[in-house]
């Protein structure tokens, strides 16, 4: 009998947990994509005949869509296949299916695409060599422009006693889920079925409907265990192709990406350049100006919110009287920008924190002390005018500062200790419905969402039900259903699961208890207990087995069913400050302060992280071991983004490092000991005051490492990641 705080331990350790990659059906065909081998080109022809001549092969491209979809048309802005023009290296131009995987790969290789080269825009800055001094031309490839301001910033900066300016560059980083995207599709009984490794079954349903132009009611999405998501599996990627192939083949089709393909198809954080200016008078920030160029690749419609979110994080969690922010989402010949754990927030925190460290130094103040006088707290207003809800940032800062000072006292030569802050705004999104079924022997939580690894579903929702009902976790289980049978939800992303779905589970449990209470009588709080195998309802002196409180219909249907729904708190920004584009209010304010000690090799520029401490404002700890694991994992992912991870594109737009040897993620031997501290008491909007925790841990990491390197060497790095080459070059220049 396996003992673990993780209810998914048994299946995952036995190897019986079925992931998308493991999907299999009798008569199944293997699918493969044909990806464009040029970042920008005119697609003169796609010849499928050589592939179709191979045994058992079906091959499809843009011209086949109308037939396969019975004349339906999907969203013209997101065609599944390139038809006339290829917009990024790796864009799908055809798909094939064959009885074996080797057969599918051979068929994909047999497709002949004629692709005439067109000029490639790969580098963000090459588009605007004069930026930010010269205005951006209206003919520029801009997907979105966002702009907001308050006060007379020009004047405030002119009159400020000290003005500090800096330019920062951030790199593209990839999610690198250990399991690349994989699904299995079947078309039967007039329904389009797809089973997939996804963070959002309902999101996939909506996406597939939009891309293929078929109604949501004809699409059924089921989930599998998910081998890592990190934002990359929040929208559809392989599913439309697998469905089209299944239709063409008249058989189930499995489509699983290789690592190389997952890297090339992207949907992740892309590079940015940021210019920051801050004016200070008498030790106080009087004005800030922030300008951003954000690469959004082949921007997809509906994704332009990325710029508004990015700009919001660039303002940082600081009181700012006058400001101007302006961001451009720039189209390049790269795959579309997509969410990567805390989209752009670690990059933004690196820029803001590094810049404010320079500001503090310019006025001769300790950066932590400078921050302590400026961080937002409950009741303040953000730069964009949103009232700040409970926010523990000053408390985590205070505690982290004490650790920084203690570590500095005993850091040896070549060592440095740095501190960085991060903040996150849980995005609760649409939906958040839960159903519970209370039976005589336990409680079942019915879900469409799958456990993606964080524990937010398998542990978080169970812990929420435990708190709501009093039942022990052994008596509570999550049952997974497809989109035709599950309550609606937006997806497991945005650090929203425990906050939004957990609140829905809590509400559903309360509804179930209320229904029982009416039957039990008595007064006061009703709780459930497990007595042997029996669930017992208790209120005051009244005590009865749930079995005896159920109606005959409920007993027949497996228990008393109750529904709950998440209701977000209304949040607004001051729209009068917005000049153009979308800026967004935050559901919650979640703060974190990290401290790192690093050892820098001045010869090679290699940075080793010696030890690490993290302080997190979490509202309330819902499950301590799972929360700790979430923070440890986020920090190490952040160390990758800080030190080694960087997607590199050639001038002609080809991704040069689509594999793990050249895109280095952290390995076991190189991670530091991590000390995690939870700060409770600043209640969030989630159940019992919980705040989201999936994303906050990654956010302060690059900023913290940069500060530690600065402390060790006196050199301020302005470009992510801090590879040995970049650090060595900066040390030579200094």
């Amino acid at each position: 009998m396996i003992r673990s705080f993780r209810p998914d331990a048994g299946a995952k350790l036995a190897g019986t947990a079925g992931f998308g990659y493991d999907l299999d059906r009798p008569g199944m065909r293997f699918g493969a994509l044909v990806l464009a081998a040029r970042a920008h080109g005119r697609l003169d022809s796609v010849d499928l005949a050589p592939a179709r001549a191979l045994p058992g092969v079906v091959a499809i491209a843009a011209d086949d869509l109308s037939t396969l979809l019975d004349g339906a048309h999907g969203d013209p802005e997101r065609p599944p296949f390139a038809s006339r023009e290829v917009m990024y290296d790796g864009q799908p131009i055809a798909a094939v299916a064959a009885p074996t995987l080797a057969g599918a790969r051979a068929a994909a290789a047999a497709v002949v695409a004629t692709l005439a080269p067109l000029p490639v825009v790969a580098d963000l800055e090459s588009v605007f060599p004069e930026w930010p001094e010269a205005p951006i031309a209206s003919s520029a490839p801009i997907a979105a422009h966002v702009h907001a301001r308050r006060g007379d910033v020009d004047r405030a900066l002119r009159e400020a006693a000290t003005v500090v300016r800096g330019t920062y560059r951030t790199s593209g980083v990839h999610q690198v889920a250990l399991e690349p995207h994989a699904c299995l599709a079947e078309v039967r009984d007039g329904l389009w079925h797809v089973t997939t490794s996804t963070q959002s079954p309902f999101g996939v349903r909506e996406d597939v409907a939009g891309i293929l132009g078929i109604p949501e009611r004809s699409i059924v999405v089921d989930g599998t265990w998910v081998g890592g998501g990190f934002g990359g599996k929040g929208a559809s990627l392989v599913e439309p192709y697998a469905l089209l192939l299944a239709r063409a083949a008249g058989a189930p089709v499995r489509l699983a990406l290789t690592y190389r393909e997952a890297f090339r198809l992207g949907r992740t954080t892309l590079p940015s350049v940021v210019r920051m200016e801050t004016g200070v008078t008498d030790g106080a920030i009087v004005a800030r100006r922030v300008r951003l160029l954000l690469d959004v690749g082949t921007s997809l419609p509906g994704r332009d919110f990325a710029t508004g979110y990015a700009i919001g994080f660039l303002l940082g969690p600081y009181r700012t009287p006058a400001f101007e922010v302006e961001g451009y989402a720039v189209r390049t010949h790269k795959p579309p920008f997509g969410p990567h754990r805390a989209p752009y927030a670690p990059q933004a925190a690196f820029v803001v924190e590094s810049h404010l460290n320079e500001v503090a130094r310019a006025i001769g103040e300790d950066p932590a002390a400078f921050r302590a006088r400026h961080v937002l707290a409950e009741g303040d207003r953000t730069a964009l005018g949103q009232e700040v809800s409970a926010f523990g940032l000053s408390e985590v800062l205070r505690r982290a500062t004490a650790v920084r000072d203690a570590w500095r006292r005993d850091a040896g030569p070549g060592r440095g200790v740095g501190l960085g802050l991060g903040f996150w705004a849980t995005n609760t999104g649409a939906g958040g419905e839960a159903r519970v079924l209370l039976s005589p022997t336990g409680l079942e939580i019915v879900q469409g969402e799958r456990e993606i690894g964080s524990g937010s579903v398998a542990v978080g929702l169970v812990a929420a039900a435990e708190r709501s009902t009093g039942l022990p976790r052994d008596a509570i289980r999550v049952t997974y259903r497809d989109t035709s049978a599950a309550p609606f939800d937006a997806g497991v992303f945005g650090s929203r699961t425990v906050g939004a779905l957990g609140q829905a589970v809590d509400a559903a449990c309360r509804a179930a208890l209320a229904a029982l209470g009416d039957r039990l009588g008595g007064a006061g709080e009703l709780r459930l207990e497990l007595e042997g195998d029996e669930v017992v309802a208790i209120r005051g002196t009244a005590r009865r087995p749930v079995r005896s409180l159920l109606t005959p219909e409920e007993r027949r249907d497996g228990g008393l069913a109750a529904d709950g729904r998440h209701t977000g708190a209304p949040r607004t920004i001051d729209e009068s400050l917005v000049v153009e584009g979308g800026f967004y209010p935050y559901q919650d304010f979640t703060g974190a302060a990290h401290v790192a000690e690093v050892d820098v090799d001045r010869e090679t520029g290699a940075v080793r992280v010696v030890r690490y401490a993290a302080f997190h404002d979490v509202g309330v700890v819902v499950d301590r071991p799972t929360a700790t694991a979430q923070i440890e994992g986020g920090i190490v992912m952040g160390l990758g983004a800080a030190l080694t991870e960087e997607s590199i594109w050639s001038d002609d737009g080809r991704l040069l490092n689509p594999g793990l040897l050249d895109y280095r993620i952290p390995t076991l031997g190189e991670v530091p000991p991590i000390d995690v501290t939870f700060v409770e008491g600043f209640a969030g909007a989630g159940p019992f005051g919980a705040k989201g925790l999936g994303e906050p841990p990654i956010i302060p990491v690059p900023a913290t490492i940069a500060a530690a390197i600065r402390d060790a060497t006196g050199v301020s790095l302005t470009e992510l990641p801090f590879t040995p080459e970049r650090v060595a070059r900066a040390l030579k220049r200094a």
Binding site: R3, D22, L178, G227, Y259, G453, G633, M637, G659, G669
Partner: protein, 158 residues
């Protein structure tokens, strides 16, 4: 490309496999011919460690092993780990430490650690075990819980 059979033992049972092409990888043999999907397919290029199995007790990457290369040898996959030396200890340690999140790298880690402990013994320094496990990648845990599991498993013995 059609080849001969390859007689291998998988988890203690002879696996009669016929017509194995010379370029078939052990990873595909166990997953698709034998249906043992606990061995995970990751990069297929030897960089991630998710497909780790034991061959005659020693850790090996099944994605870089040709099935016909190991004619006559014994393969242990995650499904056979409970009966392998150190198998139970490693499984219990991973469960107790919660040394997994998404679970995709987990079978590879479990198999690799059981193999390492059998080879190096419980007296191997922790640092060495952790370094040798560096060939297995995990993207979720940050390795902290995995390091705790290694300590627990080593303390428990076979």
């Amino acid at each position: 490309m059609t080849g001969d059979g390859a007689r291998i033992t998988v988890n203690g049972r002879t696996a009669p496999i016929t017509e194995v092409p010379g370029d078939e990888r052990l990873l595909d043999t166990v997953r698709w011919r034998l249906g043992l999907k606990g061995t995970k397919e990751g990069c297929r290029t030897g960089e991630c460690g998710a497909c780790t199995v034991l061959i005659d007790g020693q850790t090996a990457l099944s994605c870089l092993t040709l099935t016909r290369e190991i004619e006559g040898r014994a393969v242990t996959t995650i499904e056979g780990i409970p009966d392998a030396p150190f198998g139970r200890a490693v499984l219990d340690a991973f469960a107790e430490a919660g040394a997994f999140q998404c679970g995709y790298c987990t079978p590879g880690f479990v198999v690799a650690l059981a193999g390492l402990l059998r080879e190096e013994g419980r007296s191997a320094p922790l640092r060495q075990l952790l370094e040798e496990l560096g060939a297995n990648l995990c993207r979720c845990t940050g390795y902290a819980a995995i390091a705790r599991a290694v300590e627990l498993a080593r303390a428990r013995g076979p």
